[in-house]
């Protein structure tokens, strides 16, 4: 199911040349802000929770997920070089699965790790906040990577749709329409984080069981459908 060569090529496509620097800029910014906040406000659990929840989990993880998830397959489909990959004797689901693993790994390294570091800087893991948000970032990395990888195979405008989902649906609709929160990767991962932290600082609108079931369902379904989609891929010409 896992092909090292495809994985190596995908890593190169995602992190090669200057792209790793751009991806690395976001986590660095988060850590820099946490240092500033710690200096300004001192260690405060509420502040730490606001910052990690508002900036790290709500903005950074989805954006890195979009870049890694769609970037793992989108550009190849876009410039047509995916045919060379598809003509190799590899199962299409294997290609998708490998690319998913790479996308998950990249998203985790560039979003969950800095979240953990920022959490420790902000309040030294008081009330398990750093660990809780790191777990949330890890869990949502998997779901985001799978979702956005699927988008990358379905649409040529995957990045835009991914961002619309991440920013408009989760952030804007989620704050206006309570029902939208049930269908949000962010809330599902918060439910898991709530279980880890146990306190009242990390809360979610979704129950743990629902969240886990939905997370697994979305990840598996998205991966499966992306594999199916790749089996019958038609290469569209440039508009």
């Amino acid at each position: 199911m896992y092909d090292p060569t495809v994985a190596r090529l995908t890593y190169r496509a995602l992190l090669g040349r200057r792209r790793a620097l751009i991806l690395g800029a976001l986590p660095l910014l988060l850590i820099a802000i946490s240092v500033v906040v710690r200096g300004l406000a001192g260690a405060d659990d509420q502040t730490a929770s606001d910052l990690l929840g508002g900036l790290a989990l709500a903005t950074m993880v989805p954006i890195i997920g979009v870049i890694a998830g769609t970037g793992a397959i989108g550009p190849e489909i876009d410039d047509g070089s995916v045919v060379y990959l598809l003509s190799k004797p590899l199962k299409r689901p294997t290609i998708i699965f490998t690319k998913l693993i790479v996308a998950i790994a990249v998203t985790m390294v560039f979003s969950a790790l800095p979240t953990l570091i920022a959490g420790f800087i902000l309040n030294g893991n008081g009330q398990q906040i750093a660990v809780a948000y790191t777990v949330a970032a890890l869990v949502s990395s998997i779901a985001y990577a799978a979702l956005f990888l699927l988008l990358g195979t379905v649409s040529r405008h995957a990045v835009v749709f991914g961002l619309v989902y991440a920013l408009v649906w989760e952030a804007l609709f989620g704050s206006l329409v309570p029902g939208a929160r049930t269908l949000s990767v962010q809330q599902w991962s918060l439910a898991v984080a709530h279980k880890v932290a146990g306190g009242d600082l990390v809360t979610s609108d979704v129950g743990l069981t629902t969240a886990t079931v939905l997370l697994i369902a979305v990840t598996v379904l998205a991966t499966w459908y992306a594999g199916q989609k790749l089996r019958s891929l038609t290469l569209a010409g440039e508009e």
Partner: protein
């Protein structure tokens, strides 16, 4: 060509063998429209392209959708104001763009790479520069086109609000003043956003990557700034709030319009910049726009050669 050519002695009768045939090519002797015409064409094509006009149906969907999403709340507000006979519009003209910033950011993120990244990827930039236009013309045309497209996007809802306000028989002088201030503010916003979007997009030939990079700069900087402002507000150090606001495009516009354009600030605790700070805001804003233009000129000085 397997035919063996007999070797001719070099000295013997040169010119007998070579001959130029006239195969009927004709010179172009119509009017040459020149550099400014080419620049204008590039401008109008880019502006149309920013709304998908003259492109495929698929690429019309997103800009048109965002345009509709931008205008619908204004229509609803106007309808409410007319129906319930409000004394004032529910939202200030200057505040509207701040509320809809996610849509505006998405628009600039999707259209800035569309405008420049594809030229880089398909290596059409050298073809442009083989025409009479020069680097500065290309940059000016692209910048002006995207800024105009953004201005159309942000000013249209204001026009809706203004017409609605007049239909609802709100105070004419008051509304006109607010409308004018709103237009100035969205014009500045369009210039700033278009500049930032183009600078980022012109670095990468990959459209998808450009979109993500632009949106990341817009939302992460806003997220970071508003989080820091909220913390500063909670810590009681409200003097720091306006200074923090200098570091993201949206709060920069917010600061300028609340200092000079009569807007109420969207900063936490409504602590807008004072007049002195407002001058700094305007200087930073104009500096950023000039810097974007300069960076674009620098980028295109060498590109494709």
């Amino acid at each position: 060509m397997a035919v063996e050519q007999p070797l001719q002695p070099a000295a013997a009768t040169p010119g007998d063998q070579t001959r130029i045939h006239n195969i009927g090519y004709r010179n172009y002797d119509g009017p040459r429209l020149g550099r400014s015409y080419a620049t204008r064409s590039l401008y109008s094509q880019s502006l149309r392209g920013a709304y998908g006009l003259g492109r495929s149906v698929k690429s019309k969907v997103l800009p048109m959708l965002l345009f509709v999403v931008m205008c619908v709340p204004a229509l609803i507000m106007v309808a409410v104001a007319v129906a319930t006979k409000l004394k004032d519009l529910p939202v200030d003209y200057t505040r509207y763009a701040i509320i809809m910033q996610a849509v505006i950011s998405l628009y600039v993120a999707s259209q800035a790479p569309q405008s420049v990244s594809r030229d880089l990827r398909f290596k059409t930039v050298p073809l442009y520069f083989s025409r009479p236009i020069e680097t500065a013309d290309y940059v000016r045309a692209k910048y002006a086109a995207l800024a105009s497209a953004m201005f159309i996007l942000t000013a249209a809802p204001l026009v809706v609000l203004y017409v609605g306000a007049l239909l609802a028989k709100l105070d004419f002088a008051d509304q006109t003043k607010g409308f004018g201030q709103g237009l100035v503010s969205v014009a500045l916003l369009s210039l700033l956003f278009a500049g930032i979007g183009l600078v980022i997009a012109s670095v990468t030939p990959r459209r998808g990557f450009g979109i993500a990079a632009v949106i990341a700069v817009m939302t992460i900087s806003y997220g970071a700034v508003s989080t820091l402002q909220a913390i500063a507000d909670a810590q009681g150090s409200s003097g720091a709030i306006p200074w923090i606001g200098l570091f993201s495009p949206v709060t920069l516009i917010d600061g300028v319009q609340s200092a000079f354009l009569g807007a109420s600030s969207a900063f936490p605790g409504e602590v807008g910049p004072s007049n002195g700070q407002g001058v700094v805001y305007v200087l930073v804003l104009l500096g950023l726009i000039a810097a974007c233009y300069g960076l674009l000129l620098r980028r295109y000085r060498k590109v494709g050669l």
